[in-house]
């Protein structure tokens, strides 16, 4: 195969395209960065590498996981699960949300509020059962992570927030959750406001003056503020950049195409594509095993397809490495390849 691409030159980046580094340089306002894709393609690796690169540029960065099976602890080789923001190196913090702990704290907060509000010794059994049952709902874990993420991003302490997203299908669920919650909260807030309207009419007719403050309406407005903040970030074309991670394989490309359409439906601004696990062309020597040469040829075919369909949206090509990416040294090496210009 010496005739192909002059043997040793495997293009790590697509010809004539922009680069990931250029995108970050030209758009410093894009503070919310997300890597999405099918499972096991390198989302966590690129999230960590991007966070590392930005931190080295002098920006204060938070990389956090919205995946209940998060792997930031593995990649940074530090146990950060459920410990809040953990400093990894200068300018770089990482966080893995412990949903169960978050839910348990939240339940205690609710119980305490009930006991304080009504001067009870303990929460009535019926209410306690409800608290327990609601917390066992399948959506509870995702909702808790969603809420914890709101806490992280609305804090505004960091220059960049890197979301280590869940795999595609789940990420779509996460995005739709923001939209559904948004609509739900708007509807029930509207219902509560209507109720308030009736109270005011009665107070006016009876000349009772000011009606008592509706604490539920206050809570709903608080919840709405949080949900809206989270939804706004996901669809903010100015401040958010969503990058798809793909590998040169047919099924991955087909699924990503479909997902891109769905993401577009949720108005998520797609910033570009990163191709991972490209087999180095120098392996394609005359004595190369058939297995390897077949895979390299297959990848070439799909890389051509990627270039012709996505063109300049492809921002980086990262080669398959001889070992897994864990620890800061490997993260640094990946960042160099990811942000190569």
């Amino acid at each position: 195969m010496s005739g192909e691409k002059g043997g040793n030159e495997a293009p790590l980046r697509t010809l004539g395209s922009g680069s990931l580094a250029a995108v970050f340089r030209e758009h410093p306002e894009r503070r919310y960065v997300m890597f999405g894709g099918k499972g096991g393609l390198g989302k966590t690796t690129f999230s960590a590498a991007t966070a590392f690169w930005l931190a080295r540029q002098g920006h204060k960065v938070m990389v956090f996981s919205v995946d209940p099976q998060a792997s930031l602890s593995d990649i940074f080789q530090r146990d950060i699960f459920g410990q809040g923001p953990v400093k990894i190196m200068d300018n770089l913090w990482a966080q893995e949300i412990d949903a169960d702990k978050h839910i348990a704290e939240y339940q205690d907060e609710i119980r305490k509020k009930i006991v304080d509000m009504y001067g009870m010794e303990r929460v009535p059994d019926e209410i306690e059962d409800y608290i327990q049952a609601a917390s066992a709902e399948p959506a509870m874990e995702e909702s808790a992570i969603f809420d914890a993420v709101v806490d992280i991003v609305v804090g505004g302490e960091y220059d960049y927030y890197i979301y280590d997203l869940v795999p595609l299908g789940h990420a779509l669920y996460y995005l739709s959750m923001a939209k559904v919650y948004d609509e739900w909260i708007n509807k029930i807030t509207h219902l509560r406001e209507e109720m308030r309207g009736y109270e005011e009419v009665v107070a006016k007719i009876r000349r009772e003056g000011e009606v008592e403050e509706d604490k539920i309406l206050g809570e709903l407005q608080y919840i709405r503020g949080r949900i809206n903040a989270a939804s706004r970030i996901l669809v903010d074309r100015e401040k958010t950049a969503f990058f798809f991670v793909v590998i040169p394989e047919e099924m991955v490309l087909a699924d990503t195409r479909q997902a891109a359409e769905m993401f577009a439906r949720f108005d998520v601004p797609i910033g570009g594509y990163v191709v991972n696990r490209v087999l180095p062309a120098e392996l394609l020597t005359e004595g190369a095993p058939t297995f390897l040469s077949n895979r390299i040829r297959m990848q070439r075919r799909y890389l051509d397809q990627i270039d012709s369909t996505l063109g300049e949206q492809v921002l980086a090509r990262v080669p398959e490495l001889e070992r897994d990416v864990t620890g800061l040294d490997m993260i640094e090496r990946t960042a160099e390849m990811l942000f190569m210009e």
Binding site: I110, I114, M117, P124, E126, Y130, A134, M195, Y198, E219
Partner: protein, 110 residues
């Protein structure tokens, strides 16, 4: 003597003859107060009652939308509903009773 008559008698005894001005003012105030109550009863009582009933129904609808799980209606999202729970604790039993009560024709009439 009925309670009403006793009450009227008490009111009459309470009005000291020496205090003409306050009695007069009280009388006028009392008259306007009663006139206002009569007007309210004739014109606005029904309106107020309807508004309060509608508000009450909306309150129950609101609890159903946010706490439906309590009677087996799945709701979404339970995480944020829990946040509202402390505020509806006193209404829960009334609401459940209302949800589970049999309905008949008189519900539509009154």
């Amino acid at each position: 003597m009925t309670d009403g008559e006793r009450s009227n008698a008490d009111e009459t005894q309470g009005e000291a003859p020496k205090e003409d001005r306050p009695k007069e003012a009280g009388g006028i105030r009392g008259f306007f107060g009663k006139a206002r109550k009569v007007t309210y009863g004739m014109a606005a009582h029904d309106m107020t009652r309807t508004a309060l009933r509608t508000r009450g129904s909306m309150e129950h609808l609101f609890i159903l939308v946010t706490m439906g799980d309590l009677v087996g209606v799945p709701i979404l999202p339970p995480y944020y509903s829990l946040r509202l729970l402390p505020y509806v604790v006193p209404q829960i039993s009334t609401w459940k009773r209302r949800m589970l009560r049999e309905k008949d024709l008189t519900d539509a009439m009154f």
